[in-house]
Symmetry: C2
Subunit: 214 residues, 2 copies
């Protein structure tokens, strides 16, 4: 059964998944980058995202690898795709990731503003879905052909899918940083009533990895 999975989603100690004031130079918001320090040095992040050969191994790296395992399609919120708000001013912006993004699948971007699909190098195709989160999931599941769908984020997008009861599994990495402000993942969301339990708990020097499963 194809699952909708959140993977490698970093949280601060105070529950924020992104810092405030996202900009083109600061896509994770103020202070947001510090939450992801556990991930950057890992071999799988370096290989799959940065296209470099070196990197660390161990549990942090294992979780990065799992985040790409059996994924047949992705869903991203508009803000995770880019910093542009409102209507697309032109077709120049093609994501944060260069010509060959790390997805290598269909990627369904939630937006209120229609845009033609963009075919990138390496098999990534960005589709812009204006019909809402259920429509995006339906298209992603069809595209995934039985594999899982990865819900990339950001916070607002994950919260919408959580509230709709559509998320099957979440891997969170709680980092030893305080953001103070930003986008909180769980405020007013009752994960226990949604049926989630903590099914894995693997702390490392850099982050506490938990898997929440329904």
């Amino acid at each position: 059964m194809s699952k909708l999975r959140v993977c490698c989603f970093s949280l601060s100690l105070d529950g924020f998944g992104a810092g405030p004031n996202q900009t083109i130079d600061n896509p994770l918001g103020e202070g947001g980058e510090a939450m992801h320090k556990w991930m950057f040095p890992t071999r799988n992040f370096q290989r799959k995202v940065m296209d470099r050969g070196e990197g660390t191994s161990g549990p942090d790296d294992d979780f990065v690898a799992r985040g790409f395992d059996n994924i047949g399609a992705w869903i991203l919120g508009r803000n995770m795709f880019g910093p542009i708000r409102g209507a697309w001013s032109d077709d120049q912006w093609k994501g944060w990731w260069g010509d060959n993004p790390p997805y290598h699948t269909d990627v369904f971007v939630l937006t209120h503003h229609p845009r033609e699909p963009i075919t990138m190098e390496g098999g990534t195709v960005f589709h812009f879905v204006t019909a809402g989160i259920h429509a995006a999931l339906e298209r992603a599941r069809t595209s995934a052909g039985g594999k899982d769908v990865r819900l990339g984020g950001g916070v607002a997008t994950i919260r919408q899918y959580l509230e709709a009861g559509l998320v099957d599994e979440m891997h969170l990495a709680i980092s030893p940083v305080l953001l103070g402000r930003g986008e909180n993942l769980f405020t007013d969301i009752d994960t226990a009533s949604l049926g989630f339990h903590c099914t894995e708990h693997i702390p490392t020097k850099h982050a506490t990895h938990v898997v929440l499963t329904r």
Copy 2:
């Protein structure tokens, strides 16, 4: 310099410090006990709180020991002292901890309802402070005679002292459980702007220990 310290304060993955619906049979609220599993088996908890000789050693135990180290007085919220709300109906309730509570110092209990002090075995004296959090802290500092004051909780009490900028150090133990509902420690409190940083990060199999310092 005498510090106001929060020690061994357990949080769920979703940020709650207590479950909902606290009762006399369930002083930590629904689901709250699971957050404290890291602490119960430790040698210092068994010795200092349960008056038993056995227990585990290691980082979990070290944090329990540190929570009693150099403490000259305690401050507790009314709900941490007991389940009674409103006026004291009689003088029967003397806390959750039996005749010889684990404090062995003056303990200042915040309440809106005056009551005479209670002298317990082992040096613990419960004082009931109706003049607010600043007055309680002043009395506790005087009593502590240069040692630190431990702010025991619960969540609402810690939040009041945090918002007043009076907490110097917090040791939190993030447990691999979801509560879904309850009292959230940090909602609408900007710990970063208050000047806190994460100065220690010691994950164990049972909890992720972090020390937040200003």
